[in-house]
């Protein structure tokens, strides 16, 4: 069995064990959840270390036929696109379990859902089978809805639950129509993504069919990633969600749509992808500028971060729209960096909310001296959010801009402005209001994060941001072969020449050496 299968099985085993325990064994339930997510995180780190960056195809592959009549198989594997996401997902899942100590009612149901959500998320990213790719995503979505409904906060909870449910279900179903159409149109009777990619590069799907299918995938996946103007569910949903759910959804699950665009939509429908890039590039400006301005006006810290997280998705869309090696590499980098960042900020705000009982920025102020540890981490996270060098976000965003510059110069300039100026304004303003200035007397008894698990999760997430910020090649070297393949597939027929020249040069090399 592949290591990946173990990464997925541990949380599943945890869920089964928790389900078997009586609800009153609170400590045992929490320990099982922590232990299983911890093991799967360690396995994911080992997988990441053992990944061979020089190989282009998927590694650690395991394939088990599931429904032969339709060509569905349980097929997992990692290549450059998903190895980083899997690692990020596993780390965020563990930290989300750490941050779940705030839950006090119906512990058993909560941890079952959390673990099922973890299984779904990690499996969705590890799947190389179109059916299970979708299946596991849906499996992770349902716990999200239930967790927001049951353990969510705020008066808007019910509204937010229904809104997020209906938006995300419509998005997922649109994508499902697109995915099934791809299966049907290739006529290959297989859901294997690798196999489909190979078939399509030999014999592309007809241009007209591509034109019908691509919008389904673009908008289906787009809704899942809060593509402007379908983003309104996101800030509301995250503001109402319990901390761990917001961390897992904003951090990891949301990236599924982006991953789907890069993994499925662009390589399998390259002609339509080229036609739609202009639209995507314009819509991503909506994310970056519009949602950036909206974030500037927020008085609620959760809504501010929710909107800023929507704005960050714009950079990924811009990278994808460039359809270039650099742009796609940058998009994957931003996805990973933003995963860590979103998880970190939601964890911190969850902590603040539990301590102070409010996330209204007017009522907070001068918190830094009272909670130096959390305050410092929070300030660093917010600076990472403005794209400060040294954090992984900077690397990703700058790579995206390099990739997009050649294709969309005007849009890139506007996006840069959005990233640096708008992002800077709302992040710095939030830091000033919450952490600096005169201290309000209301929070004199405020306690810093002292629990080792809370500290550990902040350190893990911030450490990952810094690690990949200082050594981005740890990721980019792994991403490049896979991104290169996709960029080559989507490149117009005429310009495939440089790629061919590159490969012929490589084959010439031994001769020269001789």
């Amino acid at each position: 069995m592949s290591t990946i299968t173990y990464i997925l099985l541990w949380p599943l085993l945890g869920a089964v064990c928790v389900a078997a325990l009586p609800g009153s064994f609170r400590f045992a339930i929490r320990s099982i959840a922590l232990a299983t997510t911890f093991i799967s995180m360690i396995l994911a780190i080992l997988l990441f270390v053992g990944f061979d960056a020089s190989v282009a195809g998927p590694q650690f592959v395991q394939k088990v036929p599931w429904v032969q009549a339709l060509g569905i198989s349980y097929h997992v594997g990692v290549d450059g696109l998903n190895i980083g996401l899997l690692l990020m997902g596993a780390i965020v899942a563990f930290t989300a379990a750490c941050m779940s100590s705030e839950i006090e009612t119906r512990l058993k149901e909560y941890y079952i859902l959390l673990l099922v959500m973890t299984v779904g998320i990690l499996s969705a990213f590890a799947s190389l089978d179109l059916f299970f790719f979708y299946f596991f995503h849906e499996l992770a979505l349902i716990p999200t809805f239930i967790m927001i409904g049951l353990w969510g906060r705020g008066e808007n909870r019910n509204y937010a639950t229904y809104k997020i449910t209906i938006y995300l279900s419509i998005g997922a179903l649109l994508a499902l129509i697109g995915l099934i159409s791809i299966y049907v149109q290739t006529g290959a009777r297989t859901f294997d993504i690798i196999e489909l990619t190979r078939l399509v590069s030999a014999k592309p799907i007809g241009a007209q069919s591509q034109g019908i299918i691509f919008p389904f995938l673009l908008f289906g996946f787009g809704i899942l990633v809060s593509l402007w103007p379908f983003h309104t569910w996101a800030p509301l949903g995250y503001a109402a969600a319990p901390t761990a759910t917001a961390m897992l959804h904003a951090g990891v699950l949301k990236k599924f749509g982006l991953y789907g665009l890069i993994r499925v939509a662009i390589p399998l429908l390259p002609d339509a992808a080229r036609d739609w890039t202009q639209v995507l590039a314009l819509l991503c400006l909506g994310n970056i500028l519009y949602c950036g301005f909206v974030a500037m006006r927020q008085k609620n810290l959760l809504l501010l971060i929710g909107n800023s997280s929507v704005a960050h998705m714009g950079f990924v869309f811009l990278g994808i729209a460039s359809l270039s090696l650099v742009g796609i590499t940058g998009a994957v980098l931003v996805m990973i960096a933003h995963g860590f960042l979103a998880a970190l900020t939601f964890a911190l705000i969850g902590f603040l909310h539990r301590q102070t009982g409010t996330v209204e920025m007017d009522r907070l102020g001068g918190l830094l001296p009272r909670i130096p540890f959390v305050g410092a981490v929070m300030i660093m996270a917010m600076l990472a959010g403005c794209g400060l060098p040294g954090f992984a976000n900077f690397v990703g965003e700058v790579t995206v801009f390099f990739g997009a510059w050649k294709v969309f110069p005007v849009i890139t300039v506007l996006a840069l402005w959005g990233a640096l100026v708008i992002g800077g304004v709302y992040m710095l303003r939030a830091i000033r209001t919450v952490f600096h200035g005169p201290a309000t007397t209301a929070f004199e008894s405020l306690k810093d994060a002292v629990h080792p698990l809370a500290r550990l999760s902040f350190v893990l997430l911030l450490g990952s941001l810094l690690l990949f910020g200082f050594f981005p090649r740890l990721l980019s070297d792994k991403i490049r072969p896979a991104a290169d393949q996709i960029a080559a597939m989507v490149a117009p027929r005429e310009t495939t020449a440089p790629v061919l020249a590159g490969t012929s040069a490589a084959t010439d090399e031994p001769i020269l050496r001789r």
Partner: protein, 479 residues
């Protein structure tokens, strides 16, 4: 002629007659338990069916009756449904004023009608089978004579059902007049000439009206909510599963087996029917407060989803319909099982009666929750894989109108999430009234509910076996 092919039907009818006879000598207090005998008998017949040799299609009664993998698939389906419904009936029977044995016997006769429908290869047998099902259901619906709603439901079903029967007979007469035959095999060989004959087309259309009434497709869906609400819960369950599946098998036999070419010509009509059925069912279900009525509307919507597979006119389509029905069986029977138990205690199927069910009986809450999630088509349950197969069959045709219909279905599914999750919410979120007692569930029903939950999960996660069976059964159609 080969009477031995009908051995399953004969066994079911004999079982029904035995129950009626035993009733004459059995003391009253034991009559309730006859239901378990009947269920056991049905299960025995179901197990026996696995020894029936089945390969090429075989015929009986002058080619009126066909026995092929498709027929056997549906016969097993009906037997399974009937066995579960009979177990539910025993639990429900305390509420019936009298004639419990007749209730069991009538359910078995309805079952035999469904099994004949699965084997229909002639419009005459179609009519006989439909009437056998419908007339027994008129009685089963109004069985709670002491309740006005039950009688009202029976009368409504009778009037509308008789109207539908009238359409069917008129249609068969027109078909016989133009094709000079009622046998499917003969008509299928003549369709090339008949496809342009307006009288023949009108006849087929009228027969489809009758069948559309059975499956509760728009615009023949009027009866479903009233009858589901008023009928005793086991009857409603059997109607939802058995009667609908009987309609579907006839629809498949006629549209795919007899007139595939005309079906393709009628794609636009069928699309309109399917789209409207989906939208009507889902929109009307949203404001409902009575769970049985809500399931009535949802059953309309599900008929619409299954029509998506019919519209595809390919083997993928019939495979999808066949798989969907099996998932639907376990899902709906689990829901009605819960309703049976809860109504015995509270005498109400209002949503408020289910509030906080979780704290009163975790099993009932889980069964209802799983069933709603499966109906909504969410992985990893059976409903998701069924919808997946239907969409795949539909999109195989790949024209723009098929995509539009897929979008309509998608909107329907999104709407349905609202009310299905609303029920899950009521069951798990809402606080129970403090005076609501803990509900104890009888052993057999407990087994049925556990079985249904396991089956929903099994079909959703390991669909391979049933998909293969459905694929084999679908080979009956040369499309």
């Amino acid at each position: 002629m080969n009477v031995s092919l009908t051995i399953l039907e004969i066994a079911v009818i004999l079982l029904g007659l035995t129950i009626l006879l035993v009733d004459l000598w059995l003391p009253t207090q034991y009559r309730r338990l006859l239901g378990y005998t009947a269920a056991a008998g049905v299960v025995a017949i179901l197990i026996g069916s696995f020894w029936m040799p089945v390969g090429e299609a075989e015929f009986a009664f002058g080619r009126m009756y066909i026995f092929d993998p498709l027929a056997l698939y549906f016969k097993r389906f009906f037997l399974l449904a009937a066995a579960i419904v009979l177990v539910l009936t025993v639990d429900f029977s305390e509420r019936l004023p009298s004639g419990i044995s007749e209730y069991y016997a009538l359910s078995l006769f309805a079952l035999s009608g469904m099994m004949f429908a699965a084997s229909a290869n002639d419009f005459i047998l179609v009519f006989v089978a439909l009437e056998l099902i419908t007339i027994t259901f008129y009685i089963l619906t109004s069985f709670q004579r002491n309740r006005l709603t039950s009688l009202e439901a029976g009368i409504k079903y009778l009037i509308l059902g008789a109207l539908a029967t009238g359409f069917t007979v008129y249609g068969i007469a027109l078909i016989f007049g133009t094709a000079n035959a009622t046998s499917f095999s003969v008509i299928a060989s003549k369709t090339a000439d008949l496809a342009g004959n307006p009288l023949f087309l009108l006849g087929t259309l009228l027969v489809l009206v009758g069948v559309g009434f059975k499956i509760a497709a728009f615009p023949f869906q009027m009866w479903a909510p009233d009858v589901y609400q008023g009928a005793p819960a086991p009857t409603a369950a059997f109607l939802a599963v058995g009667s609908k599946a009987a309609g579907m098998v006839l629809l498949l036999r006629i549209l795919f087996g007899v007139i595939p070419q005309i079906t393709i010509n009628w794609t636009a009509l069928l699309m309109a029917v399917s789209g409207l059925t989906i939208l009507y069912g889902n929109l009307c279900a949203i404001p409902q407060r009575s769970l049985k009525r809500l399931l009535g509307y949802s059953s309309i919507a599900h008929a619409g989803y299954m029509l998506l597979g019919i519209i595809a006119v390919n083997q993928a389509g019939s495979t999808a319909v066949l798989f969907y029905l099996v998932g639907y069986l376990f899902t709906v029977l689990a829901a009605f099982g819960v309703i049976c138990v809860v109504m015995r205690i509270t005498d109400s199927d209002d949503l408020s009666a289910f509030a906080g069910l979780h704290s009163r009986s975790p099993l009932l809450a889980a069964a209802l929750g799983f069933s709603m999630v499966s109906l909504a088509g969410i992985p990893p349950l059976a409903g998701f894989f069924g919808k997946f197969l239907l969409l795949r069959a539909l999109l195989e045709q790949g024209t723009a109108s098929h995509y539009w219909l897929a979008l309509v279905a998608l909107i329907g599914v999104a709407m349905s999430l609202y009310y299905y999750l609303g029920i899950v919410r009521t069951v798990y979120w809402t606080k129970a009234q403090s005076n609501d007692p803990i509900i104890t569930v009888a052993g057999p029903i407990r087994c049925v509910l556990y079985g249904c939950i396991a089956a929903m999960l099994y079909l959703g996660i390991f669909p391979n076996m049933i998909v293969n069976a459905a694929v084999r059964a679908s080979l009956a159609f040369q499309l």
